[in-house]
Amino acid sequence: MSLTKEMLRIRRFEEKCAELYTQEKIRGFLHLYIGEEAIAVGVNQALAPTDAIVSTYREHGHALARGIKMGPLMAEMYGKREGCSRGRGGSMHVFDAATRFYGGNAIVGGGLPIAVGLALADKMHNRANVTVCFFGEGAVAEGEFHESMNLAALWQLPVLFVCENNLYAMGTALAISESETDIHRKAESYRTASTAVDGMDVVAVESATRGALETIRKGGGPAFLECRTYRFRAHSMFDAQLYRPKAEVEAWKKRCPIERLERWAVEAGILHESDLASVDAEVAREVQDAVAFAEAGSWEPVADLLRDVQTPGIVP
């Protein structure tokens, strides 16, 4: 039940974001996670509150699943002062100290070394935390991926690398960008425990994450999960999707992680249709409240333009 609800929260939040984008309430780049919700929810179910997360520009799902409140997240999308990054980051740069959410990085692969460093700090402090690093399959072509895998394995650091393989780096298909398309095999070459999992199955993702975390917490060094998934929507709001056939999109939509879990739960007699309807209504209210929170938020005065560049008192 909670798995369904968590995935639905992400789905409905982002559908609302797409609508608000067309109304020009949300500007800039907007990268939707729709179709990939099982990964964020599956991974986050297995985490402890003291674990850390490093994310990408497609991070609304990670943020919500991690426990960042929907109101401040929506206010961030608007650029309002009440946003979780004070409106300074927008859609791509969600940060939250309370949940150890370290962004929101729009540089493909840029978050991986940072995750390695967070894990290094935990290891040097003898803390049992794990840092989870989300990234897309496009990032594995970057040098930072390889440098980070090598460092994490070399120093046996508590990092869980989660590759969200949605088959397209913007518009470039995996086979066009990678000589080895089985991404998890790349991690194996760094002597890192590595598995591929069905990223459309939240239960499979959660179970694989629990297994990986167990190894990591025992001091077994980093682990790698390749989650095979698909984004149902375009790369961003500016993308006409000329690079992939419509039939392919439709075929993947049939594997929707939310419908799949709901169907299974109803058939197994765990949930009734009426339960689903009430969850739906509950999530709709939460989204509505988040929009109201963002709408009621305030614009930061231009007089504060230079704040948070350096620590207060420093003139740039």
Partner: protein, 335 residues
């Protein structure tokens, strides 16, 4: 090269290299969260022998050899800083820092802002810069100006053994990322340092030689060439004031402008290329703030617009040298 510092009781002669090493040792002794990380900093002893001996003293956890992975270990430094450590990251030279420019600019300098002030990155990155050892183009450039361009960073250039000894500790007390540029030609320079030498402030430029007739503004490795030029100028009856910027970002306008308002003339000496140089920035600020005090156009002595060549005579010709500084100063004062 010998630095002329007042030798008093309790002073010891030391090299710039030893001063940096003493600063690192001091930081590691005082701050349990501090550690040094970089290529060859441990077993090899540092490519400029700065960290020699520290591995035996502090062990491989705190003197951490890294693979050749600038983006990886500088990024790891950012993450470690976010996780409560105080990393001192050594990048072998500024030339190689381009491999981690993404991490420095897109992450270290921006995380505080993008997170709305929730996260600071208390990271110190040390790197060697500058030419003069016939190492050819890929080991000889001075790119600190590029870093001085970036909001969110502090950029320091210690030119004296006191600053080499003192700036690191102050940098480690900063909550924001600090880059320290050590000019390769200074490592063997000797100077006198009090036994109890410690932190120095990092906000203010320093007047290294007071003078009345012209202000020579410089930093880092060029300080000593500029002081030498000032001595030659004195022989010609021109009394030059020499300002060492020390901090390249933020720039201490007040010290520079106060000097130029008195001397009414200025020449900037900068080992970066002339186009888009820090010298250009300082000159523009003088124009903005002191135009009505000026008796001559602000002059610049920079590196020639050429990748640094290998042959010594060409390398020397490319870099700012005392004779070019003297010529520029004479042109400004009309003598």
């Amino acid at each position: 090269m010998t630095q002329t510092a007042a030798a008093g009781s309790g002073n010891a002669t030391t090299t710039y290299r030893e001063a940096v090493r003493a600063a690192i040792r001091d930081a590691l002794q005082r701050l349990p969260q501090a550690f040094l990380m970089g290529e060859d900093v441990g077993r090899y002893g540092g490519c400029y022998a700065v960290s020699k001996g520290l591995l035996d003293e502090f062990g491989p956890e705190r003197i951490r050899d890294t693979p050749l992975s600038e983006a990886g270990f500088v990024g790891a430094g950012i993450g470690a800083a976010l996780g409560g450590m105080r990393p001192i990251v050594e990048v072998m030279t500024v030339n190689f820092s381009l491999l981690c420019l993404d991490q420095i600019l897109n992450s270290a300098a921006t995380i505080r802002h993008m997170s709305g002030g929730q996260f600071s990155v208390p990271l110190v990155i040390r790197m060697a810069t500058g030419a003069g050892r016939q190492l050819a183009a890929q080991h000889s450039h001075s790119l600190e100006n590029w870093y001085a361009h970036i909001p969110g960073l502090r950029v320091l250039a210690p030119a004296t053994v006191e600053d080499a000894r003192g700036m690191l500790w102050t940098a480690l007390l900063e909550p924001d990322p600090v880059l320290i540029f050590e000019n390769v030609m200074l490592y063997n320079m000797t100077g006198s340092l009090p036994e109890n030498a410690g932190a120095v402030e990092i906000d203010k430029a320093a007047v290294r030689r007071p003078g009345r007739d012209i202000t020579l503004v410089t930093y880092g490795g060029s300080l000593w060439k500029t002081l030498s030029a000032a001595e030659q100028l004195a022989g010609l009856g021109i009394d030059a004031e020499v300002i060492d910027l020390r901090s390249l970002r933020p720039l201490d306008d007040a010290t520079v402008m106060a000097s130029v308002q008195r001397t009414r003339r200025a020449v900037i000496v900068d080992e970066g290329w002339r186009t888009g140089s820090l010298a250009g920035e300082v000159a523009a600020r003088i124009m903005e703030q002191c135009f009505w005090s000026l008796d001559a156009p602000v002059g610049r002595v920079c590196t020639a617009e050429v990748p640094i060549p290998y042959p010594k005579h060409l390398e020397d010709a490319a870099l700012p040298q005392p004779d070019r500084i003297v010529a520029a100063a004479r042109a400004a004062v009309g003598r």
